[in-house]
Amino acid sequence: MAELNQEPMTKAQLEYLRRQRTREMRQQLVSFGLMIFLTFIAFGLAGMEIIPAQFTIPIVLGFAFIQVILQFYYFMHMKDNGHQFAKLFMLTGFYFALAFCVTFVYIVWIGAPVN
């Protein structure tokens, strides 16, 4: 059973990697904080009922959308290079899934009880 051949890193490489990781960590923390903050606002809006419900719903949905983007891009590394294919696949997947859901609701009569 052979070991994997690995070159030891040079000092400069190590330094570069460490800087990259620090920046990554900072971005993760910022987006994490932002997401917590958005969640608090959403809970607050829904709980305290300071504005009417028909405004609260789109605002909360908007916050949810922002959170999804942050999740994908910062926590799941979609912002990094070399993820074009993953992005393409996910968008295509979303599109197909949406098409299938629309069909199932409108022409398989699953939607009938909803109306």
């Binding site: 059973m1 052979a2 696949f89 299938f100 069909t103 199932f104 409108y106 022409i107 009569w109 699953i110």
Partner: protein
């Protein structure tokens, strides 16, 4: 750990080598053998169907057996013959075409082939264990829930196992082509075979999950007491139809796209011309793949979806004819003015253009929803899909077999016998299926086990049966050809067709187990042709000679697949005689051993997955010295 393929081996060690192999070239041979076996099996079933239908009021097969025969013919040909045979050619060529030493996940490649083999064996054991599935290859839910006995269980469990293998292989090929191309091999320099494999793999990744879900729901309904498709209990059988065709329509493109790929290579090689309109071909391939997901309901026009839904799906379906037409014209333009060599693969390719176009045109006829009410469930449909699948996919498989045989086995199939096969197959095919268009228009429904005398169907059915016998003769000649070639074993050298254009022909035969001593540098489309015309006829290396990493063989894929195979028996007999079970099996004797068998089978699979996860298997290095030795030997052999 490294074995040299030249060494003489005993029978036992050869079998062990193939059971444990993770080498894409050997897995290609496994796919070819298993797929070829199922192809012959499905062919025998087809012959029995045609014998039954040859004369009116025939009682060669009983009605029930006929239903089992058509179901197994369709299921076997699609899932166990056509797709695995395409995987055989993809495995044999794609890593070589993109300049890779193996697939991205060699272990998963092996798992894929063994899941397919065990799933196929499980499905076909139904013949000996109480009757085969009999609800058609589409297995529509109300019919399949009502089907008594275990036939449908064999279908559901067998396809679930082999479908998992296909999904794994699809992910594997997509990853390989995206990440493992040689330096210089940009997307727009990939050979068409690689492009179509990529798009077909992406289609597999998106299309197989709906099938998996559909079959799981069917398994739960039939074996574990759920009510997804049982209308009395609030279920909905239309959901099965949608899930099946959301998978089923992309499936036909999964089959035909690699066939297009094989033909594109053959046209360019034997017309000795660069493929006409390469970028349009790539664009058309991707577009067909995308449209393929938006048209599934055209199989369900008569279900009652309403005029709006029917109109949308009709228009979307007709749109697919545009990229397909682009391809047809590009192939014609490729051979136009080329220096054509009529080899066996080229004959198939030339015959493919009119045959497939005929199937495509009847497809457009059916896309018109109101007209489809007339064609639905008639022999017109049978004629249509046999024209596209046999005239497209099977022609490609036979062409690919002759074309890629030297890469897989280092010998050449006999050209004379190959041409005899072609003519028998070509004439037999048109004789069998052309007349079926008219049978359908005259009103003969599909899936009936016999018909009455005096309805005007007699002569046409007899002609169709005679055609089927001609195709059988063609396959027998092909088998004889293969046996003669294997026995003679006359080795051929590099680039045996003499006009190879792509990377796979630039490799010495037999292909070394590591494929490339040095990963080549690709300087344009048709990389090898570029070097022949502008260079010294040899690929330039993109790296210096050095050690490289290769994966170890493993028996675990076989064990994992065997575990699922055993578990499937447990699941199948689990509901027998249970109070909550569906009517189809509640009257049978209870089988107390079913649950333990299910658990033992799953335990085998999960334990072997655990071993794979926790026991490190780091592979080995091929040393520079070994590669140099091989290169020297090659040099000596060449002079």
């Amino acid at each position: 750990m490294a074995q040299t393929s030249a060494r003489k081996q005993g029978v036992g060690s050869v079998i062990w080598e193939y059971l444990t192999t993770v080498d894409h070239k050997k897995i290609a041979i496994l796919y070819l053998i298993a797929g070829g076996f199922f192809f012959v099996l499905g062919g025998i079933e087809a012959m029995l169907i045609r014998i039954q239908l040859a004369v009116p009021n025939n009682d060669f097969l009983s009605a029930g057996l006929f239903n089992e025969m058509i179901t197994m013919h369709g299921t076997t040909m699609i899932f166990l013959a056509a797709m695995p045979l395409l995987f055989a050619f993809m495995n044999a060529t794609v890593p070589l075409q993109i300049g890779a030493r193996d697939l991205a996940f060699p272990f998963l490649n092996s798992l894929g082939v063994w899941l397919f083999i065990f799933g196929g064996i499980f499905l076909n054991l139904s013949w000996f264990m109480g009757g085969a599935p009999d609800a058609g290859w589409t297995s529509y839910a109300s019919l399949s829930i009502a089907s008594p006995g275990h036939g449908i269980d064999f279908y559901a469990l067998g396809l679930q196992i082999s479908g998992a293998g296909t999904l794994i292989t699809g992910i594997n090929f997509a990853t390989t082509i995206i990440t493992m191309r040689a330096p210089g091999m940009t997307y727009m320099r990939m050979p068409l075979m690689t492009w179509t494999t990529l798009v077909a793999s992406v289609l597999i990744v998106f299309a197989f999950p709906p099938l998996t879900i559909g079959i799981f729901l069917l398994i739960f309904d039939r074996m574990f007491g759920s009510n997804f498709f049982i209308v009395e209990a609030g279920g909905n059988t239309i959901i099965w139809e949608h899930l099946f065709w959301i998978f089923g329509h992309p499936e036909v493109y999964i089959l035909i796209l690699p066939a297009f790929g094989i033909f594109s290579e053959i046209f360019a090689t034997f017309a000795r011309k660069r493929l006409f309109g390469y970028s349009a071909m790539v664009f058309a391939t991707v577009l067909i793949g995308f449209f393929g997901f938006m048209v599934w309901a055209h199989h369900m026009f008569t279900v009652g979806l309403g005029p709006t839904a029917n109109a949308i799906f009709a228009v979307a379906t007709m749109a697919i004819a545009v990229p397909t037409g682009i391809k047809i014209f590009n192939w014609i333009a490729t051979i136009w003015g080329g220096s054509i060599e009529f080899t066996t693969p080229m004959l198939y390719a030339l015959a493919f253009i009119p045959s497939f176009t005929m199937g495509g045109v009847t497809g457009i006829m059916q896309a018109a929803a109101p007209a489809d009410y007339q064609y639905h469930d008639s022999y017109f449909i049978v004629a249509h899909f046999h024209y596209v699948i046999v005239g497209g996919v099977v022609f490609a498989l036979l062409a690919g077999l002759h074309y890629y045989w030297p890469i897989m086995f280092n010998t050449m199939l006999n050209e004379t016998l190959g041409k005899i096969t072609f003519w028998f197959f070509f004439i037999g095919f048109h004789m069998t299926f052309l007349i079926q268009h008219f049978l359908g228009l005259w009103g003969m429904p599909r899936r009936v086990f016999t018909y009455l005398d005096g309805q005007g169907y007699n002569a046409a059915n007899m002609i169709s049966t005679i055609g089927a016998f001609l195709m059988a003769i063609a396959v027998i000649v092909l088998v004889v050809n293969i046996i003669i070639t294997l026995v003679k074993n006359e080795r051929v050298g590099m680039d045996p067709w003499g006009d190879g254009r792509t990377l796979e022909w630039s490799i010495p035969l037999p292909v070394p187990y590591y494929n490339f001593a040095q990963i080549p540098l690709v300087r344009g489309l048709d990389a090898y042709w570029v070097e022949k015309k502008e260079g010294n006829g040899k690929m330039m290396p993109s790296e210096s000679l050095g050690d490289f990493h290769m994966p170890n063989n493993s028996i675990l894929p076989v064990v994992m697949s065997l575990g699922l195979f055993i578990a499937a028996f447990g699941a199948m007999y689990f509901p027998d005689g249970k109070e909550w079970a569906i009517d189809a099996v509640s009257g049978l004797d209870t089988k107390p051993w079913a649950l333990p068998v299910l658990m033992i089978g799953l335990a085998i699979t999960f334990v072997s997955m655990g071993i794979r996860s926790w026991k490190d298997d780091l592979g080995y290095y091929v040393t520079k010295e070994e590669v140099e030795r091989d290169l020297e030997e090659l040099e000596r052999g060449g002079k």
